[in-house]
């Protein structure tokens, strides 16, 4: 049996490999936390979008057809999530008279993943020719 121990150089190489491995694990955890934050923001944004679509549907029926097109928004939730909301309407299809496609788009920032755009369309029965309920 050889009684020769490891050389200093071998120990150094081992340490470097171990350090690189640990840095990899550390980075994986960091990315995981970052992605969880992004998912959490995304969840609040999607909820805000659903709420904004429902509010726009109500507003469309009341404001006829003067729907506010663009405005700046602040999504409630952890951290300051600010962005822009854009709303537009268009006739759905000629065959479906009175059915209007309502488009709502949210442009927000998703931390270091940069700007992101969320879009949703809702079909609303809104007859332009109808002046009263």
């Amino acid at each position: 049996m050889s009684r020769r121990g490891f050389t200093f150089f071998e120990m150094m190489v081992t340490m470097v490999i171990l350090a690189v491995g640990l840095i990899g694990v550390y980075r994986a955890f960091g990315v995981s936390i970052q992605y969880q934050k992004v998912l959490q923001r995304r969840l609040y944004i999607l909820n805000y979008l659903s709420d904004a679509v429902a509010a726009a549907e109500s507003e469309l029926l009341v404001a006829r057809p003067n729907l506010t097109a663009q405005s700046r928004i602040a999504v409630p939730g952890p951290g300051a999530i600010s962005g822009r909301i854009e709303r537009s309407i268009e006739s759905f299809q000629e065959a479906y008279q009175g059915v209007t496609a309502l488009h709502v788009t949210l442009d927000v920032s998703l931390l270091n993943r940069g700007p992101a755009s969320f879009h949703r369309t809702s079909l609303v029965y809104y007859d332009e020719n109808k002046t009263s309920l």
Binding site: F8, M11, M12, V25, S32, L39, L43, D51, L61
Partner: protein, 203 residues
Amino acid sequence: MKTKHLFRLRRSAFTLAEVLFVSMMIAVVSLSLYRALSIGIQVWERSRSFSVEEDIMIFFDKLSMDLRNALQFSQLDFYGTASEISFPTIIAVPMGSSSGEVLIYADQIGQVSYGLDARQQGIVRSQANYGQALEREKGAARVLAAPVESLRFEYLSRGMTGTFERQLDRNALPDTVKVSVYFKNSQGQRQTMTRQINLPLYF
């Protein structure tokens, strides 16, 4: 002889520089290991606590689906207060064999209720099948989201002028329901999630 002795001494021990360097490396590796472990624990804690918001979203989706299927039915009443809502809707009822095994789910008219259970500190949903609903019975309550501090419902209906106004009648099916959930997130901050749900009577 003297040279040989010195040489043997040199071969059998580390120099001060080597010991210091290795100690420094051990310190750096230990620090990295500690940070990796502490972040691992953070990831684990976050992944567990994050589910409150997800559960609230599921609650919103379930309530939206039930409200979109809500119907006017003379035998079953709509009832809505600031903290509770109950209405007739289409529910999926398990139909099973005589041995109790669930074979299929069938749609039928039933009554669903949503509210905050103070004991469980969570939002609960219960559904009663047609027979139970006629007897004014409630099914078993199931927790959808917890822990939640409070829950508030608002009911809006279109008035004579066409604008949406707060509905005062607790027993009339509204046009819009606004739900607000107040809770503490994983960082211990108070948060509110709000969702407006339109019933497809006018929409």
